[in-house]
């Protein structure tokens, strides 16, 4: 997306945590596609479409968790002071 702004400050705050806009868009697309895709390929008798949709949502979540790095830096210190 915005590659000329290539300094370290690339994240914005959404709902009390930091996200990268590009990663957020990717995540929204992946989760929406897996969710609705699973919903539409499900057998038509309820509640199967709903369960498939839910499974698709979780699948999307897992994929995103693997391909996207959290925007948090961990600093571990040995013992307090």
């Amino acid at each position: 997306m915005n590659n000329k702004n290539n300094d370290s400050k690339n994240n914005i705050e959404v709902w009390e945590d930091l996200v990268n806009i590009k990663d957020l868009v990717i995540s929204l697309i992946i989760c929406s596609v897996t969710t609705m895709g699973a919903y539409f390929i499900a057998p038509k008798q309820p509640p199967k479409p709903l369960l498939f949709g839910l499974f698709g949502a979780i699948l999307g979540f897992v994929i995103c968790s693997i391909i996207i790095k959290p925007k948090r830096v961990f600093i571990e210190t040995d013992k307090e002071n």
Binding site: S8, K9, E16, I21, S27, A57, K71, I75
Partner: protein, 452 residues
Amino acid sequence: MDIVLILQMILAAVIAAVMYTIIGAAPGADETATIAPVTLVLVLSGVKPVIILAFFISAIVASKLIDAVPVSIAGIPAGVMSTPMVEHAMVLKKNGLTDTSIRKIASGAIIGTIVSVPVSLFLARALIPFSAVIKQYGDPVFFIGAILLALMSKNKWISLAAILPFALLIQGLRYLYWGIGVVPKGTNVFTSFFLAITIGPVILILFELLNKEKRDNMKRFDKKEIHLKKVEEIKKFPNPFKILTKKEVGYSALASLIGSVTFILSPVGLTTFLGELFSSRTKDPVEKASLAVATMEALAQATYFSGTLIPLVALGIPLSPMSIGPANPLFNAPPVFTLQHNMHHILTNSDFVWATVIGAAVAAAFTYFITVKYSRQICAFVFKRIPHEALLGLFFSLVLLLAFMDAGWINVAGVLLLGIVAGTLYRLGVNYGVLFMILYSAPWIIKTIAGQ
């Protein structure tokens, strides 16, 4: 109650405890956003009500109890309810008492659960005779509720001013759907509207991102630094009553009792008020902070139980901030549950007791153990492995799915519209409680204005 059903309830409670021990540790994981959609899906897919209740109770206990970890270790609230505790937990952290903080909070949660489960069930039974009186007023109750919550909120005037326009938008969409025939006339689209309000602030930001000027002007951040201190391993299984001092046990129990009685008030407001009140007379900063976190946690658990159980057992209509938020699918999830036919009408008294006790006991035991024993590992796992983008993607896709199921593609646009408006109102200072109450009272408000 047969043994197979009890085993199923225990299984559901275990699943909920494991799930919400992980989800609850993520920053910004609001209870309404994380628990309501999953409960909703369980209701809609036809799981037995008593099993859902055990799942739900376990979920709220686990997700509140695990708050102790991010709050104590990183000073990050994992939800709205833990925000008041951060300041005090930070005092303990500064004094090198991170592990004490975690244990005090977790023990406070246990006290809150032990006190508020029997008190809430007892109060609910005592209130049953009055339920007929309250229900007589039927629909206007929610309108009065919206006004009361607006008056009690920080931003009274904007909240009051929002009631009519927002009700108009909700009913406007419903009449439109009836008019073009995507849903049968008289069927109120509810579930997806409820979720649209929940995720409103996120939808608003997503739309803002589409505006280049807004996008370029947004405050940019580098990665979020989270400082984690290594704490000593806890060897034995700790007894919550030994972790807390006598004074802390007493104050936590008293706060839980008060929290159970005042189920209709805002949990966050109450937690802040009573927590500060009880700890204000203690001088020593460390003693004060640990008293405050234990009391606040106990109280938070108590308001969760009373806010869910009292309206559910006694009334069958959601008349507390808790029941109108996270617990809402137990009251209203059409077509399975409606205000005329929900858990209140289906479950017997012994069902309520069994489901509550099993759910609370399983989650308290499991999450308490995990929290005091593996707090560092959980925190590290969630913060390192779960990106916030994936959580937002998950919520967004669930809303999309339920919007489509409610009324087809047109409702996806409808939900976005509702989300933009709800998100704007939220940013202007109207809280979720008021917005949810408007959602419930909208049909009555519009009919009354039209003079029907």
